[in-house]
Structure formats: C-alpha cells, structure tokens
C-alpha cells in the first residue's frame, strides 16, 4: 500500500508539489496524469525516496519512508521512463547485481524464470548496447521484479516500445496488480493507457491535486451530467486546457 499525506516539495521559492494526499491499496493501479510541469515526476521521485519531501509523510507497505528509507525501499520498485542500465554488465550480471543489492538469496532460479517470462532468456549474456529498446525495458522490469516488490512506480512505461511491447507491458502491469496484489502508480500522458489499465486516477496541475478517484468517479466529476465524455475531454476540462 502507498500512503501519501500532505506531500510538499519545494525547490527554493518554487513549489513543485503542494499538499498532496492520496492512497493506493494493494491490487490498485493509480494513473498519475497532468500537463507538463504538473509535478508528476517529482511526486514519483519523492514516493520512491529518490528525493526527500519538504513536508508531509509517505508510507510504503506500512513503512515510513523518511524514518526507515532502507526498509521501505526493499518493498518497492521504480521503473523510470528511460531504461537506465550499466553498459558493462550483461543481462544476467544485471540480475546478479540487483539480487545482491536487494538481498535476494539464491536468485538464479527466479532470475531465469523472469528472463523466460519476459522472453529475454536468450539474451542473457548480452550487453545493453546489443539490446533493443524493448529488451532493455524488459531487463529493467526483470531487475525490478526480482525481489518481489509490493509497491511499484512506472514513469511513462510505454515510451519507445513497439505495439507488441506495449501490449506485453500493459499485460504485465495488470497481472502484477491483479495476481500479485501490488500497489502501482503509473505516470503517463497516454490517457488511453490509463483508461485501459488503471483503477484510479489522480489529475495534477501546478503541483496540486485537481481530481482523485476511480475512473467513473473522476469522469462523473467533470462530465457535468453529459454522457459519453471521454477521459481526454475530462482531462482538458480538469486542467483548463493549459499547462499554467
């Protein structure tokens, strides 16, 4: 479970996120949307413990991220928009490294299972430079899932993927939530992705929460009684159609 209470992040005089509160339960996928500069990435970075919050509290699987960041981070996985890999480590060496960092003992069996599931077992001895964008993304996912996290954060997970890769990524996210009970936050500009796989939506603008709830609830909030209002229309109405 992810619990965020009064999260605020300031950079000098600039407030990137202002008093944000939300909860994501196990099995839920929350879509984080908003115009550019809304504070989505900052929210994700604070929620993963990458940057400290200026104010507010964050709990990951019941553990206070500020009080015990190491224990909290053991419960989560962060999948950035750009697959960041160590260029001198092969696919299997990446998994060995991740296993050591996350204290995964006897990781080989699980690693091989993940590689097989993600269809990159035959690339095990290759370096990132030899992998396609989709393969790299799969390797990042394999490393992130190795320690069976309870909380996951995806930042623009479909960037650079081909149609088949997009389908598989969507299936993976849905399976992780439904079958493994992970609490997932997904940041994306692709509203169709949110409609397809998210159970909840959080719309942000200028660091503030504009709307939060299940998809039907958020749609209802901005449809003003109209029927068949698309999420795109809801987004435009919610954000006023501008970035600022």
């Amino acid at each position: 479970m992810i619990e965020v209470n009064g999260l605020t992040k300031r950079y000098g005089d600039f407030t990137a996120v202002q008093d944000l509160t939300f909860t994501v339960q196990p099995g839920e996928v929350m879509g984080l949307v908003g115009p550019n500069g809304a504070g989505k990435t900052t929210t994700l970075r604070c929620a993963t413990g990458i940057i400290p919050a200026t104010a507010g509290s964050l709990r990951v699987a019941g553990i206070d991220l500020a009080a015990d960041p190491v224990a909290a981070k053991r419960q989560l996985a962060f999948f950035p928009d750009e697959p960041r890999l160590f260029e001198h480590l092969t696919v299997r060496q990446h998994l060995a490294f991740a296993a050591k960092i996350y204290h995964v003992r006897q990781h080989e069996i699980r690693a091989e299972a993940l590689l097989a599931e993600l269809e990159i077992a035959d690339k095990g001895d290759q370096l990132p430079a030899e992998l396609s964008r989709g393969m790299k993304q799969k390797l990042v996912i394999a490393c992130g899932l190795l320690h069976s996290p309870k909380v996951m954060y995806f930042d623009e997970p479909l960037t650079g993927l081909d149609p088949l890769g997009i389908r598989r990524m969507k299936d993976t996210i849905k399976r992780l939530a439904r079958e493994e009970g992970a609490a997932i936050i997904l940041s994306s500009h692709l509203l169709s992705l949110l409609e397809e796989i998210c159970t909840h939506v959080l719309i942000m603008k200028k660091g503030r929460r504009i709307a939060l709830g299940t998809l039907p609830e958020v749609v209802a909030q901005f449809s003003h009684g109209e029927t068949d209002v698309s999420l795109e229309e809801v987004f435009i109405r919610a954000t006023g159609g501008t970035e600022t």
């Binding site: 900052t42 962060f78 001198h88 490294f97 050591k100 960092i101 370096l127």
Partner: protein
C-alpha cells in the same frame, strides 16, 4: 551566393550564441568563480610572466636561433608523413549531427558543402593561431608583432589542417580502389626512399641535398614564422599563402565521397556527447565487451562488493589480476637481473627505473584519483536509480569507492615493487642504517598504507561531485571556456590541499612513533609499528568522509542541482 550567406549566418550565429551563453552563465556563482580562477591563471601564466618562461615561448626563442628553419621544416614534414602512414579514423570532412540533418538533405551542391567545411576548417585554424599567438612570449605588448605571429601560425595551422583533410580524402579513395593500409604504407615509404635516393644522385651535385628538396615545401610554410624583419615576413607570407591555396584547391578537386563516413562520424560524436552529458566519461578502446565477473558474487558478501564487482566489470579488460601478476613478475625478474649485472651498469639503470617509479607513484597519488572515474562520478547520471536501492547512502558511497581504490592500489604496488627492488644504500659510511630489513619494512609499510591513502584521495573528487554536481557535469561536457578551465584548476588544487591535510596528522603520528620507538626496537620494527597509527588516521578520515558523503548522497537532488 545566398547559400554561402546562409552558411555564414549559421557559423556566425553559432559563434555569437556560444559566446553569449558562456557570458550569461557567469551570472551563476559556480561559473563566475571558475571564470575568475581561469582568468587569473591565464593572466599570471601568459601575461605577467617575465622572460621566455613558457614552453611555447621558449620554443619560439629556440626556433629563431641558427638553422632552425630546417628543424622546423623537418618536424612539419614528419607530421605530414604521419598523416599518410597512420591517418586518424576520422573522415576528411567531419560534419556534426545537426549539420548532417540540416545540410545533407538541403538543396546544396556537394561542392558547396565542401567549401563550407573547408572554410570552417580555415576559421578553426585562425582560432588555433590566435591561441598560439597568446602563448608566444615575444608578442607581449607588441601588436604588430602579434599580428605577424598570428599570420605565421595561421599559415602553418591552415596548411596542416587542409593537408590532413586532403590526406584523409585521398586515403578514402585509395581504400575504395582496393589499396589496403599495409600496401599504402609500403607505397609511401617506397616513394619517400625513391625520392631521397634519386635526389641524392641527381641533385647533390648542384649544391642542393635531397633532404633540402624534400623539406622545401615545408620550409615555405614555416618561413613567415622565422622571418627576421617585416619585409622578409611579407615576402615569406606570399608562398606560404600560396601553399594554403594549393591545398584548398587540392581538397576541393578530390572527387571523394564523404557523406557516409561523415554520417558515421557524426553519429559517433553524438554518442560521445550523449555519454558525456550522462556523466559517463569518455570511452577508449571501442565498444564495451561482455566479460566474466571479476570474482563470484556470493550471497554472503556485503552489497558494497556488488558495486566493486560492477565497477571492476566496467574497467578496461586489461586491468585484471593476471596482467598485474604478470607485470609484477616481469618487474621482479627484470630488476633482479639488473641489480646482479653491475658490469652492464645494471644497478644504475635499475636505480633510474626506481626513481621513475617513485615519480609515477607521486603522480598516481595526485592525478590518479582525478582520472579514475569508475566510482560515483561514473554513476552520477544514474543517481536516481542508486537512490532507489534499499541501502543507506554511506554504503553506496563506500561501494563506489572500492573499484578505483583497488585498481590504483594494484598500480601503486607495482611502482613500489620497482622502487623497492632498486633502492640502494647511499654511498658513504653513514648508510649503516640502510639494511635489507629497513628496505623491506619501508616498502611493506608503504604498501600497507597505500590502499587507505588512495581511498582518502578518492574522497576528494567524489566530494566535489556530490557537493557541486553541476560542476562535475560541466567539466565532463564537451563545452569549454575560461570558467570550465578554472573549475578544473580548483578541483586540482583542492586535491593537493586535501592530500596535505590528510597526510599531516598521519605523518606526525607515524613519525612520532618511529622517533620514540626506534631506539628500543630498531628502525625496521619502528617503521612497521608506525603503520598502525598511520592506518588508524587514514581509516578515521575514510569513515568520516564516507559518512559525510553518504549523508550528502541521500540528500542529493540532481534535478534541483542542475536546475540552473
């Protein structure tokens, strides 16, 4: 003509914006401080210096004495020959990625592109000439002299630059025609020998040596630089400029396809820039290759070893255990052989090698930590990923420091081995204390404290990276300027200062231990004993440094640091 106006506009606007960008960023204190340090260095080194103290100034003075024209021409010719025998892998006409994207599909004739690139090369030669003119001590306060030197350097630079381009384009043509590297080199050497032999046979009788004939074009190029009066300078400048013009025509007339090689080179350059901007540093020796892990990453090892393991994998493959052991064996056998052959001056040669090893060790201590980058500096671009790991900051910092510390320690031990085997007692009766036990104790003590000392030294550049990540990113970017030069200097002097600060308590405690105990237990044992307090000091400094850096790493937010 409109095409050239457009290309000229591109060049001038790029230059104006680059200068404007550098000036504007001086509003940020980090760049302003760097710029002040760089300007101060520039002023004191180039303008305030008296006499011909700087290297180029000295060289200029030397060149103006005696029959230096031949020497300069010989160097010039040698450089030209090297461009033919071992050419660089860059294409003759190198375009940037943006130039490829905008100019290649544009309605421009190939010849226009060639003109653009050649003229651009001439402009770059002018910048190079300007820099060399600044370095020349003879131009200080003498504007006419400075202008002369500028023209002379420009003709040399421009000829060399155009010759490089022409050689690269010609070699591309020859390669396309099936003339491989080996055959090309053999052909060039044969032509050279044939020219010298023929010249010797036919020309020497008229008072000209074949060498003079061979050096004649190069002498034309260097003469303006060596002219002793303004009149002679102008007379010398005409054939030198003619040489530049001939090279220009040569390049322009070569019908060599350059597009594919230029695109490949632009992509390579783009990758290098991307790597540098991602904080990954330059990569030498081609693409990365998959390697076996340097040691088994067992379950019982602490996570710091995972960083060591990862960063050793990222190190060049020749930095491995076998190579170090092999080098140690060679050093041991070689030095022992030299020490046992006094008749062949073996001990003297070994002594010289030992001194060189000590000098290299000193260099390693000062420059090694700045150059070894497979630590936090290499990973700063991945800081977000590292910060998401379930590890406290100090463990990530400690793990990151291990690989460069291990590699530099291995290199330092090789230098110590060489110096230790070459150590000879000073001549005279006062060298009674220089026993084999003393030699072993001294080398062993240095070997034991070396890993800790190098780790302390590594803390300095990593501290700079975490305290000033923007500086670190800038120093790695392709951009230059006075401010970046100043930043690098501040890092370097910071390294020296920290070395001194780290050494003072260790030296005081170690020296005190030796002084107090040598009377009781002898000098070798006192040296061995002194290792304990020295190590304790270094370990204390490392703990303090790693703790501080860990705290800093946990609070690091690159997005806010690089916001400016």
């Amino acid at each position: 003509m409109h095409v050239f106006r457009a290309l000229l506009y591109l060049r001038l606007m790029s230059l104006r914006n680059a200068v404007g960008h550098q000036v504007r960023r001086l509003r940020q204190p980090k760049y302003l401080i760097g710029a002040i340090a760089g300007a101060a260095y520039f002023w004191f080194f180039f303008f305030r210096q008296t006499g011909a103290g700087n290297p180029v100034g000295v060289m200029s003075e030397i060149l103006k004495e005696g029959r230096v024209e031949y020497f300069a021409a010989a160097m010039f010719t040698l450089y030209l020959l090297v461009t033919w025998i071992t050419p660089s892998d860059k294409p003759g006409l190198a375009f940037s990625e943006a130039e490829v994207a905008f100019l290649f599909p544009a309605p421009l004739a190939r010849r226009q592109l060639i003109h653009y690139k050649l003229l651009n090369g001439l402009l770059m030669s002018l910048f190079g000439a300007f820099f060399f003119t600044l370095l020349s001590s003879t131009t200080r306060g003498n504007w006419l002299g400075a202008l002369r030197t500028l023209g002379a350097w420009w003709s040399i630079n421009a000829t060399l630059s155009l010759h490089n381009t022409a050689a690269a384009l010609t070699i591309t043509r020859l390669s396309a025609a099936g003339l491989g590297t080996g055959r090309r080199r053999a052909l060039i050497v044969s032509l050279l020998l044939a020219a010298l032999t023929t010249g010797a046979f036919f020309v020497d009788r008229d008072g000209w040596t074949s060498l003079e004939i061979l050096l004649w074009p190069a002498r034309l190029a260097v003469r303006p630089f060596l002219a002793d009066s303004f009149g002679h300078y102008l007379l010398a400048l005409i054939p030198a400029a003619g040489l530049v013009a001939l090279h220009y025509i040569w390049c322009h007339r070569l019908e060599t396809p350059f597009e594919e090689a230029s695109i490949a080179q632009a992509q390579k350059l783009g990758e290098r820039i991307t790597r540098l901007r991602a904080g990954k540093g330059l990569r030498f020796g081609g693409k990365a290759k998959a390697q076996r892990g340097p040691f088994p990453l067992g379950d019982r090892l602490p996570p710091e070893f995972a960083f060591l393991w990862k960063n050793l994998l990222a190190a060049p493959s020749y930095l491995n255990r076998k190579v170090f052991l092999g080098a140690a064996a060679i050093i041991y056998l070689g030095m022992t052989w030299l020490m046992n052959h006094p008749a062949d001056d073996g001990p003297k040669i070994a002594g010289a090698a030992g001194v060189i090893a000590l000098i290299l060790l000193a260099y390693l201590l000062i420059f090694g930590p700045q150059l070894a980058r497979n630590d936090l500096r290499g990973d700063i671009g991945n800081a977000d990923m590292l910060k998401a790991y379930p590890l406290p900051g100090w463990r990530i910092v400690l793990g990151s420091l291990l690989a460069p510390a291990v590699i530099m320690t291995a290199v330092a031990w090789l230098f110590l081995l060489m110096a230790g085997l070459a150590l000879l007692p000073p001549s005279g009766d006062k060298a009674l204390w220089f026993t084999p036990q003393f030699r072993i104790a001294l080398v062993a003590a240095l070997a034991v404290i070396m890993p800790a000392l190098l780790t302390v030294q590594l803390l300095v550049p990593n501290t700079a990276t975490l305290l000033f990540p923007a500086w670190s990113q800038t120093a790695r970017s392709m951009g230059g300027g006075m401010d970046v030069m100043g930043q690098r200097m501040i890092f370097f002097f910071g390294q020296i200062l920290c070395l001194a600060a780290a050494l003072i308590p260790a030296v005081v405690l170690g020296g005190g231990t030796i002084f107090l105990t040598q009377w009781m237990i002898g000098l070798p044992a006192a040296i061995a004993l002194a290792v304990i307090p020295v190590l304790l000091v270094f370990i204390g400094e490392i703990c303090l440094g790693v703790w501080f850096l860990g705290e800093r790493f946990e609070k690091l937010d690159l997005s806010s640091e690089l916001r400016a």
